[in-house]
C-alpha cells in the first residue's frame, strides 16, 4: 500500500510538472499542445548535458531548452498570431522527431550519476503550491489570468498582452523542460526514443480536468500516477490483456474530456489577440 502511494507520486511527478507548465501557458490564453515534443527534446538535452557536464547542468539544460521551445511557440502564436492548435501539434512533431534523430547516439548509454526521484517529486509538489500562490496572490499572476480571460481589458489597463503571454509560455516551457529532465535523469536515467510515451498528452488533458488550477492538477497527476502504477503492477496477474492496461490512460483522458468539457477554460483561450478588433 505504501509502496503503491510512493510509486503513484513518482509516476505522477512528470505528469504534474508538464501539467503545471501547460496550465501556466493556457492561463494566459495560449493553447499549449506542444508538451509531448517539448518534453522529449528537453529530456534529450538534459541527458546530453548531464553526461558532458554533470547532473546539475543536465537539469539546467532541460529547463532552458523547455523555456526556449515555449518562447519558440510564442513566435508563432503570440507575435504572428497563427493557429495555436496547429502550431502546438507541429511543435510536438518537431520535438519528437528532432529528439529521435539527435538522440540516436545517446541510445543505451548509462548515466553515471542518476538523480534521486524523491527530490524531483518534492520539488514538483512545492511548485504546485508556488504556482497557485503566484497565479492567485501576486500582481503578475493577476495580469496573467486577466490576459487569458479578457486581453482587451488587460491591454486597456496598460498590461502588455504579448509580453505576459511570452512570460507564461517561457516559464511554462521551463516547467515542461524540468519534467523532461526528470524522465531522463532520475525516473529512467537513460535516453530512449519515444520515452515520453504519451505523458505529454496526458498532461494536456489533465489541464482541462484540473480546470486550469494548479492544486487540482496535483490530485489529478497523482491519480494518473496511481493508474500507471496499477497498470504496471496488475500486468500478468489478472486475466486482462496488458494492452488494455496500456490503453487505459488514453481512455481515461477521453472520459475526462467528456465529463469536464471546457466550461471553465480561460475565456480567451485559443484566440490570438489583435488590438482594435
Amino acid at each position: 500500500m505504501e509502496e503503491a502511494l510512493l510509486r503513484a507520486v513518482l509516476f505522477g511527478t512528470p505528469i504534474l510538472l508538464a501539467t503545471l507548465g501547460a496550465l501556466l501557458a493556457e492561463r494566459s490564453g495560449v493553447v499549449q499542445l506542444g508538451v509531448e515534443g517539448m518534453m522529449a527534446l528537453s529530456a534529450l538535452a538534459a541527458f546530453a548535458a548531464a553526461l558532458a557536464f554533470g547532473p546539475s547542468m543536465g537539469i539546467l539544460a532541460g529547463v532552458l531548452v523547455g523555456a526556449f521551445l515555449g518562447l519558440f511557440h510564442g513566435i508563432f502564436t503570440v507575435t504572428l498570431r497563427a493557429n495555436q492548435f496547429v502550431a502546438g501539434l507541429a511543435l510536438s512533431a518537431l520535438g519528437l522527431g528532432a529528439s529521435g534523430l539527435l538522440g540516436k547516439r545517446y541510445e543505451g548509454l548509462p548515466l553515471p550519476a542518476p538523480l534521486p526521484e524523491g527530490g524531483f517529486a518534492l520539488l514538483a509538489f512545492l511548485l504546485a503550491f508556488l504556482l497557485h500562490a503566484f497565479l492567485f496572490y501576486t500582481r503578475t499572476g493577476l495580469y496573467l489570468r486577466s490576459v487569458g480571460e479578457n486581453p482587451k481589458a488587460a491591454d486597456l489597463f496598460g498590461v502588455s498582452v504579448d509580453g505576459v503571454r511570452y512570460l507564461a509560455l517561457g516559464m511554462g516551457g521551463g516547467l515542461i523542460g524540468l519534467s523532461g529532465a526528470y524522465l531522463s535523469l532520475a525516473y529512467r536515467p537513460a535516453w530512449t526514443d519515444g520515452m515520453t510515451a504519451g505523458l505529454g498528452w496526458v498532461a494536456v488533458a489533465l489541464v482541462i480536468l484540473a480546470a486550469w488550477r494548479p492544486l487540482r492538477a496535483l490530485f489529478g497527476a497523482y491519480f494518473f500516477g496511481l493508474l500507471f502504477f496499477l497498470q504496471f503492477r496488475l500486468q500478468g496477474s489478472v486475466p486482462i490483456p496488458s494492452e488494455a492496461f496500456a490503453a487505459m490512460p488514453y481512455l481515461l483522458v477521453i472520459l475526462v474530456l467528456a465529463l469536464s468539457g471546457r466550461a471553465q477554460a480561460p475565456k480567451a483561450l485559443g484566440l490570438p489577440f489583435e488590438r482594435g478588433r
Binding site: 508563432f76 504572428l80 507541429a90 518537431l94 534523430l101 539527435l102 496500456a246 467528456a258 468539457g261
Partner: protein, 349 residues
C-alpha cells in the same frame, strides 16, 4: 514595434513571406542534418532523388495513395472546423475491419467489397464518436481523436499478439496471410494497388464538388468560416459536424483497407501498417488550403518526402523520425508564412 493586421497583402508580399519561411525551414533542416553528422546537401539530394527513377516514383505513388485518401477527407474536415487528428487511428480501424472480413468470413467475390464496407464503416464510427463527444459534451476533438489513435494502436497490438495471431506464424506479431480473394490488384510489378489510387482521386474530386457546388457544401463552409454566423442562420451544427467526421473517418478507413489488402495481405504491427500516414496527411490537408482537389498535388508531394525519408533511413541509417521533423517544420513554416503575409510591421506601440 508590433504587428498589425494587413487586410489586403500584395501578391509580392505573400510570395516573399512564404519564400522566407520555406528558406528558414530548409536552413533548420540542414542544421539538423549537420548536427546529426550528415552533409545537408547529400541528405537533401537523397531525399528528393526518388523522383529520378521509375522504381522511386512507384514508391512515391504507393505512399501517395493513403495520403490522398486521408488528406482529401482531412482537408474537408479542417475547412469545416473539425480538427480530426485521429486519421492514424482511423486508418488502423479500417485495417482491423478489413482483416476481420478477410480472415473470419467465408471468402468469395464479395470479400473485397465486404472488407471496404466493414473497414470503412468501422473507422467512420470511430471518427463519429469524437464528433459526438464534441457535439454532446463539448470535448475538444483535437484531443479525443488524438487519444483514439493510441487506443486503436493498442487494439491492433492486442489483436495480432492475442486472438488473431496467425496459426502458421511463429513468434512474429501478425495474422495469417489473407486468402487470395482478399488481395487488391496492383499496378504492373509495383506495390501500388490501383483500386485505392482510383478511389483516392475520385474522393478528392467528389469532396471538392460537394464542398463548392452543393447547398450542403455552402453550409459547411459557413460553419467553418464563421461558426457564429452559422448559428445565427440556424444551421444544424451538430449534424454538419457528424457528417464531416463520418466522411473523413470513412476515407481514412479505406486507406487502411488499402494498405492491408493491397500491400501487406495480413494485419501486422500498427507501426508497420501506417508509417506515419495519419500525421503526414494533416500536412497534405493543410497544404491544400481547404480545397480537397488540391490534395491531388500535395499528396504526391508528401509522398516524395516519405519515400525519400525511407531512402535516408536505408542509405544513411538515419532514424525515420526525420520525416516528423520535416512535417513539423513545414507546418510551422506554412502557418508562419500565412500569418506574416496577413500582417504588417508597425514601428510604434
Amino acid at each position: 514595434m508590433r504587428l498589425e493586421l494587413d487586410p489586403s497583402p500584395t501578391p509580392a508580399k505573400v510570395a516573399w513571406s512564404y519564400g522566407a519561411f520555406f528558406l528558414l525551414t530548409f536552413l533548420l533542416l540542414a542544421l539538423l542534418f549537420a548536427l546529426y553528422g550528415v552533409s545537408p546537401l547529400r541528405a537533401f539530394g537523397l531525399l528528393f532523388s526518388v523522383v529520378l527513377d521509375p522504381l522511386g516514383l512507384f514508391e512515391v505513388l504507393r505512399r501517395a495513395v493513403p495520403l490522398l485518401l486521408i488528406g482529401a477527407g482531412l482537408s474537408l474536415a479542417f475547412r469545416v472546423g473539425f480538427f480530426n487528428i485521429g486519421a492514424e487511428g482511423q486508418l488502423l480501424l479500417g485495417a482491423v475491419g478489413a482483416a476481420y472480413a478477410a480472415l473470419f468470413l467465408p471468402t468469395g467475390p464479395w470479400t473485397l467489397p465486404l472488407m471496404f464496407l466493414l473497414g470503412g464503416g468501422l473507422s467512420a464510427l470511430w471518427a463519429l464518436l469524437a464528433a459526438w463527444l464534441r457535439v454532446r459534451f463539448g470535448a475538444s476533438e483535437i484531443l479525443t481523436t488524438l487519444m483514439q489513435n493510441y487506443l486503436a494502436y493498442y487494439l491492433v497490438v492486442y489483436l495480432v499478439a492475442g486472438p488473431w495471431k496467425g496459426e502458421r506464424v511463429f513468434g512474429f506479431l501478425y495474422t495469417d496471410t489473407f486468402p487470395q480473394a482478399a488481395w487488391l490488384p496492383r499496378l504492373g510489378e509495383s506495390l501500388v494497388p490501383w483500386p485505392t489510387l482510383l478511389l483516392g482521386v475520385l474522393a478528392a474530386l467528389f469532396l471538392h464538388f460537394l464542398l463548392f457546388r452543393t447547398p450542403l457544401g455552402l453550409e459547411w463552409r459557413v460553419l467553418g468560416d464563421n461558426p457564429k454566423a452559422a448559428r445565427y442562420l440556424g444551421l444544424r451544427e451538430g449534424r454538419l459536424l457528424l457528417l464531416v467526421a463520418l466522411l473523413s473517418g470513412l476515407l481514412a478507413g479505406v486507406a487502411g483497407v488499402g494498405e492491408v489488402a493491397g500491400i501487406h495481405h495480413k494485419l501486422l504491427e500498427p507501426a508497420q501498417i501506417s508509417l506515419g500516414y495519419g500525421f503526414t496527411a494533416i500536412l497534405v490537408a493543410w497544404l491544400a488550403r481547404g480545397g480537397p482537389l488540391f490534395t491531388l498535388l500535395t499528396a504526391p508531394l508528401m509522398g516524395v518526402v516519405l519515400a525519400g525519408g525511407d531512402l535516408l533511413k536505408l542509405e544513411l541509417s538515419m532514424p525515420f523520425r526525420v520525416v516528423d521533423v520535416f512535417a513539423g517544420l513545414m507546418l510551422l513554416a506554412l502557418i508562419g508564412a500565412e500569418a506574416l503575409a496577413r500582417h504588417r510591421v508597425v514601428w510604434r506601440r
